[in-house]
């Protein structure tokens, strides 16, 4: 399909292979780096990013420049850049696409960030199912090093910086910044509550900038073309830049699309992703990954941008759009999400550890036809309590849960009335075998009953 919108991040997209360094350079790649090291001060790069209003693409939308300003100005010692490529949220696969399209765009972005925050080392944190990305980034980092773009005395200046890849062994919570720092440090990756930000005290207790990979990939364009150019890419008044939208679920052409921030959801689904498959009717959309609410179709004309979404009580998140049709049971879908969050919780704090299995249990009853009227209020209360958890994990889980009752409570009640799933789903079965005292399907590696030593 011909896409007539500006392609900045995916402009070097080739079928089935990543762009080479020569292809990247032919399109202006590494020009931003050459125009920066030894020619601009780190403060000038930071100023460009602040003026461009680059907001984090990992879900929270925090302005990247402001995060970088969090490093104490008088700090002397090592500083780190951690590139978050954990991306384990259901529906999200944009970072994998980006690395496999243009690894040098990512590498140049990381180097520019390091220059701006005066970091000497970068760590790419990569989840296990993205092993091919890890290998690709290692190979292309070596190529960049051979070209004098990475390593000691970059482009003959006194700026030195290098990248290495840290392979995760896989848990969703590792995507949270403080948990990711702990994971790299060989500690159990549960998030840190409050107290100093990672930009003050991060990896090995040194200032560390943790940014999503897509966020950093925007830097070469901003530095080369300027903040006004970057802002002009967006279609909404408050937006800046383009965005990678991962579209999945019931659409004709699921995939990753680079579109201006502010593109209406209706256009993304019906024009770029090909609309609904024949015979299907859209019922709900999760607009930004599993930690964002279900939206009914009345919101389809919302601009996909942080501020318009927030004003409408929605969340932009990672802009990973999941589309549900009229034949999909949203109680079942929510139950599936709660299964995911329950299994992936690090279990460190009570609202998450206790709250998630509790709401999962109640949803299982409703989906299985054993739900009662009072369960609705019990779930809502529990979801509200989950908002006061240690980190954003349980509050994120509460988003689809509360929106199910806000917009689709009639569907929940239909389960109660019919005493079965009106979509014909069988009663939910626990996945995995009982192991010791834990709930039947808790834990990543359930052992068969006959081998269970407990």
């Amino acid at each position: 399909m011909q896409i007539d919108t500006p392609q900045v991040l995916l402009k070097n997209r080739h079928l089935g292979r990543p762009a080479t360094i020569d292809e990247y350079r032919a399109g202006g790649g590494y020009e931003a780096l050459a125009a920066t090291v030894g020619k601009r001060t780190p403060a000038e790069v930071l100023q460009l990013v602040l003026e461009a209003d680059l907001r984090g693409r990992g879900g929270a939308g925090f302005p990247a420049g402001k995060k970088w300003q969090g490093i104490p100005a008088d700090y002397v010692g090592p500083r780190y850049v951690v590139v978050n490529t954990d991306e384990m949220e259901p529906g999200t696969f944009k970072d994998r696409i980006l690395v496999n399209v243009d690894p040098h765009l990512v590498i140049e972005g990381i180097i520019l960030c390091a220059y701006a925050v005066k970091a000497s080392e970068g760590v790419c944190f990569i989840r296990p199912s993205y092993e091919s990305d890890a290998v690709l980034l290692e190979e292309q980092s070596r190529v960049a090093r051979e070209h004098g773009l990475l390593g000691k005395n970059i482009l003959g200046t006194d700026f030195s910086f290098d990248i290495h890849v840290h392979r995760s062994a896989g848990r969703y919570i590792c995507g949270e910044a403080s948990a990711q720092i702990k994971a790299i440090s060989g500690l159990r990756p549960n998030p840190r509550k409050g107290g100093p930000r990672t930009s003050v005290k991060g990896l090995w207790d040194c200032p560390t900038i943790v940014n999503n990979l897509e966020t950093l990939a925007n830097l070469p364009g901003i530095v080369r073309n300027g903040p006004e150019w970057f802002k002009s890419l967006a279609r909404s008044a408050t937006g800046s830049g383009t965005k990678l939208f991962s579209v999945s679920g019931r659409v004709a052409r699921p995939g990753c699309y680079e579109l201006p921030i502010g593109t209406p959801l209706r256009e993304i689904i019906y024009t770029h992703a090909g609309g609904m498959p024949p015979g299907r009717v859209l019922k709900a959309v999760i607009p930004g990954g599993a930690s964002t609410p279900f939206m009914p179709d009345k919101y389809l004309d919302l601009e996909m941008d942080f501020e318009p979404m927030k004003r409408a009580g929605q969340r932009f998140g990672t802009a990973s759009i999941m589309v549900f049709d009229q034949n999909t049971c949203l109680v079942g879908a929510t139950l599936n999400l709660m299964e995911f969050f329950t299994r992936e919780s690090c279990g460190w704090c009570t609202p998450c550890r206790e709250g998630l299995p509790y709401v999962r249990h109640l949803l299982r009853l409703i989906e299985g036809g054993q739900g009662r009227e009072e369960h609705i209020a019990m779930i809502k209360d529990a979801a509200k309590a989950m908002r006061s958890a240690y980190c954003a994990f349980a509050p994120g889980a509460a988003e689809p849960l509360l929106s199910l009752f806000e917009y689709f409570e009639a569907e929940v009640r239909e389960h109660l009335r019919q005493k079965r799933c009106p979509f014909g789903n069988p009663p939910p079965a626990a996945r995995g075998k009982a192991c010791g005292t834990r709930p039947p399907d808790f834990g990543p590696t359930p052992c068969p009953e006959d081998q269970c030593p407990i």
Binding site: M88, G170, Y172, P254, A290, F340, R431
Partner: protein, 165 residues
């Protein structure tokens, strides 16, 4: 059974090039897991010794992460994505088909030691749902026929992994 010299050298190199030995913990466990087939006690004690970490510290990692196995697993670990997108495309029946075909419960290993079936958090391949990951390789848009073909292909391999005593 002593570890092969090249594996010892590889592990030591990884530790030496890490900013801090602890940073290499997962990589060292991965290397040992590839050798033994899973993280047996012998592997955990060795990792503890070379990393300078207690076995308890390493245990807290090995039992936390999805892709480290403290129990024997098959030569091919099949991570079946059970995210909401794959679920929407009848993931449950895909999962059941795999378990039924292989004759194992979820989490179980086939008697010949070839396959272990595990549910997995989203594996980042949602536009090709339903999907599974087998020893790091994606299998897309699964149907019973495609699963049969994938299993037949995997059965062709004759490589025998080393196991703990």
């Amino acid at each position: 059974m002593p570890l092969p010299d090249d594996l010892v050298a590889q592990i030591q190199h990884r530790i030496d090039t890490a900013g801090h030995p602890r940073e290499a913990a997962v990589d060292v466990m991965y290397a040992l897991q590839r050798h033994y087939g899973y993280l047996c006690d012998e592997a955990m004690h060795y990792a503890s010794r070379v990393l300078g970490m207690t076995t308890l510290e390493l245990e807290s990692l090995a039992t936390f992460y999805d892709y480290l196995y403290r129990r024997p697993v098959g030569r091919y670990v099949i991570h079946v994505c059970d995210s909401v997108v794959c679920w929407m495309f009848h993931q449950d029946s895909i999962f059941d088909y795999l378990c039924r075909t292989l004759g194992v419960p979820p989490g179980g290993t086939t008697e010949d030691g070839l396959f272990t079936v595990l549910p997995a958090a989203c594996i980042g391949n949602c536009h090709n749902a339903p999907t599974m990951l087998v020893n790091g390789r994606f299998y897309d848009r699964l149907t019973p026929e495609r699963i049969d073909a994938a299993l037949a292909e995997l059965r062709q391999s004759t490589e025998e992994p080393v196991r703990c005593k």
